[in-house]
Symmetry: C2
Subunit: 356 residues, 2 copies
């Protein structure tokens, strides 16, 4: 393989690509983490920073049979590390010298860390209004950071910039990235011994939702689970394309607080619709007020998550209220990103509202 | 047990207390994390946030046979969660309604999270010049935060404030805390299959150094390892009491960057001296310049740690240079705290020095 044979979208239709594994069989390895499922991952384990094997803990403050999957305890503080570990490993297999990404947050940080650990360059295109701390961290992780006027410019400029022995690794499109996030389904089965009834995930570009759908689908095809759990996809106000596909127009101010969910036009939207529908799940929109309330509860429970992750708690409350989830259901909420990246805003959103 | 039988120091001599377990035997449980070693922990597992089972990864950028133990991926971003899980569980056993702690950083955050998860109050005394973000996080985690003029006032006021059904859980003194940190020794044996030749740890009040010494000592007494690894204790300039006990006066400006290592008068100092000496280890002081250099390397390797944790990398380089560690030795460096709490200063210390 070589870098110029790398495809990031279909050369005919321009749509996203998928990976289908013939003759899939699962043999658990003794390794900790994501590569415990190496037999089901179509990439060599060439780079690892300790991703995967995150804790699954009971959430008694939410009810019985409710579990939190602490994906924010991955190496760079988000579930994206599963995707980066596989996608960057694959880039190494292709002999790539530099990966190019557009992101203003968790994925930029994650790809930068894995590229650096793999000994290749990363070039990250970031809108100039992204938080200074995240920009500094991306550069400290050894990446070349290019600031752009807008988020849309970041995408365009990233794609146009790709040179010799470089590839566009963009996570909204990258099929290998989903081969990493799918391991979350495998890990839930490994930790629980069975599949839960429902999984609630935050959704922006769908890398986690689709990873779970692929993973549970593969487990079903191997006869290791009986059905795919209901997948509930949670979106933030103003970025509710998936919800709108299912339920019609939703008008609201764009979210101010769930910055990790700001994706306007996810290229895998039709796949996301299919994942939700065919698992008998749903899409839910939560407001900033609801997010702040849920964030406060999570922090009070000892779970230091980012606001975008707290959306799943708001959604859980709604799904219980409208009886889409029953109190007997076994439910897993995926807590996707670390609140330690946000301690500068905790004062504003949480502490001012705590009675002294 | 009841709260008023809780002792935080010896009622006769005023010195710290230790816990000795009669007839210790280890049976590994199926649980993930710290409570996998519950048979060796003299406390009921009453509260957990997913602590322990942190990744152990190769550090190829430092050499062969060098491993990094990613303790910063614990639930609140530091190894302190091991101590908090056990100490707060024990407080629950005693029927305590509130725990009182003095800390300006990682321990305050950790104790707050575990108390909140356990459904009891935490009151944390914090010097008023502590970082705003950390103070906000402590309060968001549900603790009562009391600001004090100085660090010494925080300790004094915490101890004096203890009321009915409350206990002083101060980690510099608490013997149960060490029963939590000792599990790191057990976990290293579990992950590696044997004890390493040497372990390098940052040291302030010695909770990690002493935990390792207790843990490896217990494993030795059970015949599960052949010798205690050499324990190398790393201190920051200006807070080098352990180093001074072994090597004489060390004069320097107090560290500006290794804030987690600022403990002037550790109550367990003589135990720390013994742990280093009897394991054939040593104490090392590193300067702020050395810390920044090591921090940059760690970040470039993809490891998002705090400056106080980077000290172990500086120390590793020194120990190789002066031949206290050979290139054939199997060495574990403990990375204790998360750099995500420090992204606001990465720009100043790291990025300004990166050529653009």
């Amino acid at each position: 393989m070589e870098a110029n044979s790398w495809l990031w979208r279909c050369p005919r239709c321009g749509g996203p690509l998928d990976i289908v594994i013939d003759g899939l069989r699962l043999t658990l390895s003794e390794r900790r983490g994501l590569w415990r499922f190496a037999s089901a991952i179509p990439a060599k384990p060439l780079v690892s920073l300790g991703e995967g094997s995150t804790p699954l803990v009971e959430a008694k403050f939410l009810g019985d049979n409710v579990y939190l999957k602490l994906e924010y305890l991955n190496p760079t503080g988000s579930f994206k590390d599963r995707g980066s570990a596989v996608a960057v490993s694959k880039a190494l297999e292709f002999g790539v010298k530099a990966v190019v990404e557009d992101s203003s947050g968790n994925t930029g940080i994650s790809i930068s860390a894995y590229a650096s650990a793999a000994g290749i360059r990363a070039r990250i295109y970031v809108p100039k209004d992204a938080p200074e701390g995240k920009k500094s961290l991306i550069r400290a992780l050894g990446a070349d950071l290019v600031e752009t006027p807008t988020r849309a410019d970041a995408y365009r400029m990233a794609v146009e910039s790709v040179g010799e022995n470089e590839v566009y690794i963009g996570h909204l499109w990258n099929p290998w990235f989903l081969q990493g996030t799918k391991t979350l389904a495998y890990e839930l089965l490994d930790q629980m011994g069975h599949a839960p009834d429902a999984v609630i995930v935050p959704v922006a570009s769908g890398t986690l939702l689709l990873g779970l759908y692929i993973g549970f689908g593969e487990l079903l095809s191997m006869g290791l689970i009986k059905r795919i759990p209901k997948l509930f996809a949670v979106q933030a106000q103003g970025y509710a394309r998936l919800y709108e596909e299912l339920h019609g127009t939703y008008r609201a101010e764009p979210t101010k607080i769930a910055d990790a969910l700001r994706v306007s036009d996810p290229p895998r939207l039709s796949q996301m619709v299919n994942a939700v529908k065919s698992s008998n799940g749903d899409a839910i929109v939560v407001t900033d007020d609801e997010i702040v309330r849920a964030w406060r509860q999570a922090l009070k429970g000892g779970f230091i998550i980012e606001p975008s992750s707290a959306t799943v708690i708001s959604a859980f409350w709604k799904l219980i209220d409208n009886k889409q989830i029953s109190k007997d259901d076994e439910v897993v909420l995926i807590l996707t990103g670390s609140g330690l990246k946000y301690i500068d805003i905790i004062g504003k959103y949480i502490v001012e509202n705590i009675p002294r």
